[in-house]
């Protein structure tokens, strides 16, 4: 017997994320979905999804996530979960909890669902503030109690931004009250609707520092009873992050209308052809398609990154961020201080520090989508 060590994980298609619908009863202004989501084609059928699930599992994918929009708006996710679970996937449902009834939960449990991630929304039109939005909170409490009774660990995700970050102490306290085992505090990533609302969502440096201090205090207090993951915001951390752990390395996302993407926001990138899962099999899409090879590895990186020691760690950062900010999807991610475009980040950060400049939020809904008619 050799010494019991871990083998470093092989890069491969570990994840299949099924974004089964763009429909959503909520209207989060920080939503990463494309602003023009109403222009997407018709949703995939149950059989289309089953085919995608089988093909991805054959390629070795082990994590299956269902998200959206709000996935519970489709009535076939029990079928998808059952098939995925039976094939050996670890099955994750990412939901706002809206629409999760006892009956559906029982059906999902019977189908073998492994894990539920409940997201905390606020910044909805109905209530800007999680703390005053007792309706949402009551719903979360109910759903969390229900899922706990069904034997699921309670995993909560909360997106942080300028207007809720000051209430972090209360947010964590609520997670404790609910009995959460994991709390993911994700600072807004500026994609889709969040990019549109960036100015209104971006916290100040002082707000962020305070949030990190609050998180640290709770971590000390809670120890292993509740794990808190604090996802630092790209802009402030000035550290480019590897796109989904590397473009075409671990992650495969499929949109409601059947486009395969290496990252759930890549749809906004221009000049790329997104393979349709009804026309190509996942094996071809993953290994052969021009899209999945476009930003794979580091050979395509611009000069700024080629000469940098960090390139194997971050692959030059996020492609969507590079495109949204510079117009060039192949540029060094501007959050990197070495990027020739880094001044754009400094300007956005400086704007966040100036009082009184905050614009009203634009909420994610079909009417605004049509009115705006743009991707981000």
């Amino acid at each position: 017997m050799n010494a019991p060590l871990l083998i470093p994980q092989r890069p491969g298609p570990l994840w299949l994320l099924a974004e089964v619908t763009y429909r959503c009863p909520l209207h989060c202004a920080f939503c990463y979905n494309p602003v023009d989501f109403t222009q997407a084609g018709p949703e995939l059928s149950t059989d289309d999804w089953l085919k995608v699930i089988r093909q991805a599992r054959e390629l070795g994918a082990a994590q299956f996530g269902i998200s959206g929009g709000e996935p519970l708006l489709r009535d076939d996710i029990e079928i998808l979960v059952a098939e995925a679970r039976q094939l050996g996937f670890y099955t994750n449902l990412i939901t706002s909890g809206v629409g999760l009834t006892e009956a559906r939960l029982a059906a999902l449990k019977a189908a073998g669902l492994d894990h539920i991630q409940l997201s905390f929304q606020d910044a909805t039109r109905e209530a800007n503030d999680l703390i005053t939005n007792t309706r949402t909170f009551d719903l979360k409490r109910k759903v969390a109690a229900m899922t706990k009774a069904a034997g699921y660990p309670t995993v909560i995700n909360c997106v942080l931004h300028r207007s809720n970050i000051d209430h972090l102490d209360r947010i964590i306290e609520m997670a404790v009250e609910i009995g959460a085992e994991y709390l993911e505090l994700a600072n807004t990533q500026y994609h889709g609707w969040a990019f549109l609302n960036r100015q209104s969502l971006m916290p100040t440096e002082a707000q962020l520092a305070e949030a990190e201090a609050v998180t640290e205090r709770w971590r000390q207090r809670l120890g292993k009873t509740m794990r808190i993951l604090f996802v630092t915001p790209d802009y402030q951390s000035k550290k480019p992050k590897k796109c989904m752990n590397g473009w075409g390395e671990v992650f495969l996302s499929v949109t409601p209308d059947g486009l395969a993407l290496p990252c759930h926001t890549a749809r906004m990138l221009p000049g790329l052809e997104f393979p349709d899962v009804r026309e190509h099999d996942i094996d071809w899409i993953w290994h052969e398609s021009p899209l999945f090879n476009r930003f794979r590895g580091t050979a395509w990186l611009p000069e700024t990154c080629q000469s940098c020691d960090e390139k194997d760690n971050d692959h030059g950062g996020c492609r969507c961020q590079a495109f949204m900010l510079t117009g060039d999807a192949g540029a060094t991610d501007p959050v990197c201080p070495k990027s020739p475009d880094h001044a754009l980040i400094d300007a956005a950060l400086a704007e966040a520090e100036r009082p009184g400049t905050v614009k009203p939020l634009v909420f994610r809904d079909p009417k605004n989508a049509v009115k705006l008619g743009r991707a981000f």
Binding site: M1, P4, Q9, G60, A62, G88, Y90, D114, H115, E181
Partner: protein
């Protein structure tokens, strides 16, 4: 040092299974996976909540025709505990 009478079991937050594509045992958990080498897989396979650490060691020693595995198993279980992969059944 783990107690040799303690009985580890895999934390319900994790699923332990054989992955054909990886030719390895893995631990799956919300949104992640740890690929295990053979020894780690063989140890975790025996963490069923009713087998004690001493029994796991004895079983591995006979299965692999080896001796003195107690220290390796112990070190692994301490690490696994720190990672929250295992919990302990009351003795």
């Amino acid at each position: 040092m783990t107690s040799s009478l303690a009985r580890p079991r895999i934390n319900r937050l994790f699923r332990f299974q054989w992955e054909p594509a990886q030719q390895a045992h893995v631990l799956l958990y919300p949104e992640g996976m740890v690929k295990l080498n053979q020894s780690a897989g063989e140890i975790l396979k025996r963490c069923d909540g009713s087998t004690s650490v001493a029994e796991i060691v004895a079983d591995l020693e006979s299965a692999f025709n080896a001796s003195n595995l107690a220290a390796d198993v112990d070190a692994f279980l301490i690490m696994a505990d720190a990672q929250n992969w295992i919990t302990w059944s009351e003795t």
